[in-house]
Every structure is written in C-alpha cells, then in structure tokens.
C-alpha cells in the first residue's frame, strides 16, 4: 500500500505504536509502575495471568503511561498474587490475593481514577532501606 497523505501515515503510526510502546529509550517521563510479584509463590498462585491481564486492560483502555513490570517475591507469600502500584509522588499501594477479575477494577479505579481499593489493600508493615 502506498501512503498518499499525512493522515494515512498517522494511521499507520497509530497501528504500529503497539509494537514499540513498551520502549521508552533514555527519555523516560514520570510513569506509573505496576509491579507484579513473580516469585515461585506468585507464579504458582497465577501471577503470570494477572500480569498479562494488566497489559491487556491497559491496552484496551489505551493507557500508555503505565509500565507493567514483573518483580521478585517480596515476602507476602500468604497473599499471593500480589501487585504493587507506584504512582509518582504517592505512597506505594500493595494489593494481595488478586484474581484476574479484579485486575479490571484496579485499572479502572486506582490507575484511571486514582481511588485506592481499600478491601484489596495489604498494609505494608516493613520499611525499605
């Protein structure tokens, strides 16, 4: 297909964005991070499915300033799968016992509207040095 106008180029750009939107290069703005615990405990409790659901949901809602990152175990094995949401300038929030159907709620409520879902939240009782 030949591109015959700027609009057509922009359309191809839109369609191709999905292929590179995980990459930020060196210029990295302040973005929200979703950390999914992927230790052995997390994986056996279904963390991989959770992680992929997050990626799906964000893509569906076209939210692009969020990075979904697999991380290791943080020691809350009793509440796996766990997900930590880091919004720049705010205290990190840790959610536990996440199931795939709750992913949508977290994206809609916490990421989109900024409202923490209290009944999923685990109190972080440790400080990081």
């Amino acid at each position: 297909m030949k591109i015959k106008s700027l609009e057509e180029l922009k359309k191809i750009r839109e369609e191709s964005m999905g292929g590179v939107n995980l990459r930020h290069g060196e210029a990295r703005g302040e973005s929200i991070e979703i950390l999914v615990g992927m230790g052995t405990c997390g994986i056996s409790a279904g963390a991989r499915g959770i992680l992929n659901r997050f990626v799906d949901e964000l893509a569906k809602k076209k939210i692009d300033n969020v990075r979904v990152i697999p991380v290791g175990c943080i020691g809350y094995c009793h509440s796996e799968p766990t997900v930590q949401i880091n919004i720049p300038g705010q205290e990190p929030v840790l959610y536990g016992n996440i199931t795939e159907d709750k992913v949508k709620d977290i994206v809609e409520s916490h990421i989109h509207k900024g409202v923490v879902i209290q009944n999923l939240k685990i109190d972080i009782r440790h400080t990081r040095g």
Binding site: I3, S5, L9, H24, G37, M38, V55, G72
Partner: protein, 548 residues
C-alpha cells in the same frame, strides 16, 4: 491471546555482532519459545547502543534493565530469571568501574547521563529492519510536513535557523549549502549522502546507518525537495556490509509504502535513492573525489571552485551531506530550527557524536551537546583512564586533527574552539592517550595512514606525506639530527599550504601539534645537540654552520 508485555532488545550493531549477539538473540528466542512465552515476549534486534566496550548489550523493556557483556549462555538465565520470575540477573548488570557500584538502569549510568541523543535517538531503540517501528516513533512525518505544508525556501530557512553544520568534519553550514544548490539554474540536480567514513576509529555514520537507516533516507528526500533534486545517491564504503544490507532493506520498504518513488504523499514530488559502493579510500570522503568515484572515475579530488553545489555529479548541481548531518534533519523539521539552535554553543548548535577510543575505560559511541568539555567526555562519560594511568593527550579529528593536552581539557568544544587549539572536530573520532604513549610514534602512525591514503594527484600530497613519514621514521630510529627536525617542520607547513584537497592540507596536523605540545619527546630522539630548551631552530642552524 495475551498482549506482548516485554521487549528484549538485543544490540545487533557490528561491534556486538562480532561478540556473538546474533547467537544471544537466537538463544533468547529459542528459550522464550520453549518456556511458552512467545506471545508475551518479543525479541528485537536493534542498532548500536553506543556502549561497545561492554557489548553485547541486552535491554529489557519496560522494566528498563540494562545487561552488559551477555554471552549466548546467559540467555537461559535472562529468560528464567528476568522474564519468568521478574528477578534481575545481578552478574550481568554494569558495574561502574571506580566505585564498583552496580547500576541496572540506562539513565543512571555515567556513560549515558551526560549524553543527549538526536542523531542517535533511534539507535538501540528500534528494529532498523522494520519501517513500521520507525513510523511508530514519528518517522516520515517530517517528510510529509515538508511536502504538504512547506515551500522549498521555508525548508531551507528552517535548516539555516537551526545552525546545523556539516558533521563530516568541514563544519560548513548545511542550510547555506542547500540554499546554494537550490539557487543553481538546472533541471537536473542530485542529493548525495556521504557515507564514506574513513577516519581510523570513527564509526558513527556506520552505526546510524545500521541502527536507523530510515532517518537518513527521510532526510535525503527532504533535502531533495529543498534543492530541487529527484535523485539521491548514497556513497558508502563496501567495508560496511551490514549497513549496506540494512540500507537496501530500508529502501525497499520505503518504496513499498510510497515514501520513495513517484508522487510522494500524493504531491508532484518524486524522489528515489541509489546506493553506490566505494572501495574504501580515505580520499573519497572528500566531496569532489567522492563524486568522481560515483561517476566511475578514479577517486581523486578536483580543484574547487567550481563547488559540487555548482558543478557536481556529471556536471549537475549536487549537494553532498554527511550521514550524521542528515540524521539531524528530521528532528529539526519536526521540532523547529529554533529548538535545535538552543542546544550547543552559539556558533555550533546541536549535538555531535564522538567515537571514544584508545586508553579510556568506556569505549563507545557518545552523542553530546556541543560546548561540553573534553574532561566531561573523557572522565565522566568515558570513565577515565584504565589501570590508574595518567592522562596525556587526546587526538580529535582523526588523522587530520591534532592533540589536545591536559591544560585544554576544560575548553568547551565546538568547531571553532578545536581549531583554535590546533586540532579540529573532524568526523568525531577521539583517541585518548596515556602516559605510556610516545607522541612521535603517534604522529608517525597517523602519517603512515595519510601517506597510504593520499591519492597521488598533487605533488605536495603525494611526495610530501612520504617525506614527512620518512623523517619521522628517521627520528624514531634515533638517527635524526636537529636539521631533520627543522626540515620536517618546514615540510609540514609546505604540505599544509600547497596541497590540493583537505586530506593533505590537514595531514601534517598530527606532527605540527605534537611538536608544539611535546617538543621534548622529539628532542629525546635527537642525538647531535645537547637538548636546547627552545624550539631548536637556531641551535640546529648553528650546528649546520659549524659543520660547514
């Protein structure tokens, strides 16, 4: 099917390929598939990250983890730890040499901290063999904007306003060159990309072509529109097989999408590009020699004027721009000449890519704003001198430049300040030397190179460079007299003043500048005088008179 959640970027520049990055990518691919993660993880082969010292480089996105010196055997750990379990593979992270501090993120590494990437912005970020990735990051929008909404003069004025100067070494204002070529009254004009990168140790043009070929194609089309050419040529040395292969892929893809060819963007502008392979002669980087070689003649320079902008390829007005110069053009069109001129110094705007090599910890490709000091490049970005040795000098401008010593390390660098210090910007090679290096030998090395590469057309270049080299050989063998030092000095200025083209006009620079800064090292080789402190000129003359 799940969406991709991770991209593994593997450097596929020539440097990393030489240390088996192709195998790394293949192993990653196989293991990712074996673990059943093919749908979630994409392996992307990118262009050069610039940190060649530490290659092969593997970067994980969006996690932003930067792995260095990854071997084919490390692929298993990267997949099993990083992808499956989200744990970093500590042993593959970069350690800052002095503090042994482990750094996992790109932008926290001192090698990258002070860099600003415009020409290299897509290198190491996109797959150079996929035009859609270039488009996804805004590629070809500058070309569209130019063709649809700008007049030819507006394009030229934008480039003039940016203050962009030729990155191949000459530093001639690019906008002015475009303007002169546009003003020529001729139906046939040519836009030529000079990819005959020949400075020993410089490889920025190769990396751009390997890592982001479309940026150069787009810029050539923009230039073609501005000057009124419908045909472009890329003159590239045959020693760059990977760059040539990626250029050919890029050309094919651009033609398929109608971004090159007839009636681009539905306008009446047509433009296409051919590749011409050079045999790798240093002199063919000189634009008139380059054009002679393109025409199938011997790669020898012509007397200027007429300049190629007036009479170039087959006698038609031709604009010759270097690869790195062109790679800046799309950004200038997209973000404006004013933005570009706000970077760098007043007379040298924008950034410059340097190939950092020699006795320095972080060998690689760095892009920095003009006006940065050599100290910042060598000690902050380059990580200083290995093995606790002392810095002695840095050669900028390759065999056409000169040495810069400790006392000038804090001079902000741009085209003019380097010339004032007796060196030059050149294409951006930067060779760092430590206390163990003998400067006469360094000068001899460069003269050996220019002697071999001098084309032979003019007398001063053909004979002069050989005589300088012979004298240097005589000096280093310990058989020279003060009179020889005098002779070499005279000869240097004679060759400099009377050669036909830039190659030999600048060839004596390494000798002149090492004599200026390290006169004592020359004297150490001389046996016939009791080491006079000054320039040696009068002592040498006296000696001759005495003998007579």
């Amino acid at each position: 099917m799940a969406k991709e959640r991770t991209n593994i970027l593997v450097c596929a520049g020539t440097g990393c390929l030489a240390s088996e990055s192709e195998k790394v990518a293949k192993n990653l691919e196989l293991i990712v598939r074996a673990r059943g993660y093919s749908d979630e993880v994409k392996i992307v082969k990118t262009g050069c990250f610039g940190f060649c010292e530490q290659g092969p480089i593997v970067k994980i996105e969006p996690d932003n983890i930067f792995y260095v010196r990854v071997g084919p055997k490390d692929a298993k750990d990267i997949v099993d730890e990083q992808i499956v379990k989200g744990r970093k593979v500590e042993r593959l992270l970069f350690k800052e040499s002095e503090k042994d501090k482990v750094v996992d993120k790109h932008e926290e590494m001192s090698f990258y901290k002070k860099q600003l990437r415009i020409a290299l912005k897509n290198c190491g970020l996109i797959n150079p063999e996929d035009i859609y990735e270039y488009i996804a990051l805004g590629g070809y929008e500058a070309l569209g904007k130019v063709l649809i909404s700008m007049t030819r003069n507006e394009v030229i004025n934008e480039v003039k306003e940016s203050g962009l100067r030729g990155r191949g070494g000459g530093g001639f204002p690019t906008g002015l060159k475009w303007g002169i070529t546009k003003e020529q009254d001729s139906e046939v004009k040519f836009m030529v990309c000079n990819a005959d990168e020949g400075d020993p140790g410089a490889f920025m043009d190769r990396s751009i072509l390997e890592g982001d070929p479309h940026s150069v194609l787009e810029a050539m089309a923009i230039g073609g529109y501005a000057i009124g050419a419908d045909k472009g040529l890329i003159y590239i040395r045959a020693e760059y097989p990977l760059a040539i292969a990626r250029l050919n892929i890029a050309l094919k893809q651009a033609r398929e999408l109608g971004l090159l060819g007839e009636n681009i963007f539905g306008t009446d502008f047509s433009f296409d590009i051919d590749i011409k392979l050079g045999a790798g002669a240093f002199v063919c980087g000189e634009e008139t020699a380059l054009l002679n070689s393109c025409e199938g003649q011997r790669g020898e320079p012509n007397f200027k004027p007429p300049f190629p902008a007036e009479e170039g390829y087959w006698g038609h007005p031709t604009c010759v721009n270097n690869v790195e110069t062109l790679a800046n053009i799309p950004a200038i069109i997209n973000r404006g000449g004013k933005w570009f001129s706000s970077i760098g110094t007043e007379k040298s705007s924008g950034t410059k890519v340097f190939a950092l090599a020699g006795k320095v910890n972080n060998v690689g490709l760095v892009e920095v704003p003009m006006g940065i000091t050599l100290r910042e490049i060598i000690f902050d970005i380059g990580g200083g001198i290995p093995n606790g040795k002392k810095f002695k000098a840095v050669q900028t401008g390759g065999p056409s430049g000169g040495v810069i010593t400790e006392k000038d390390l804090d001079t902000p660098i741009d085209y003019d300040s380097l010339i004032a210090k007796g060196s030059m910007m050149g294409s951006g090679g930067m060779i760092v030397m430590d206390e163990d290096d003998n400067m006469v030998n360094i000068a001899k090395f460069y003269l050996e190179f220019t002697m071999d590469e001098a084309c032979g057309k003019c007398g001063p270049g053909r004979i002069g460079t050989i005589r300088i080299y012979e004298l240097l050989k005589k000096i280093t063998s310990g058989n020279a007299t003060m009179a020889d030092l005098d002779a070499i000095k005279q000869l240097c200025y004679m060759v400099k003043d009377s050669s036909l083209c830039g190659l030999c006009q600048t060839a004596p620079n390494p000798v002149i500048s090492t004599m200026k800064h390290f006169w004592n090292e020359y004297l150490d080789f001389i046996k016939d005088v009791d080491h006079p402190q000054g320039e040696g000129k009068y002592a040498a003359k006296n000696k001759i008179q005495k003998q007579a």
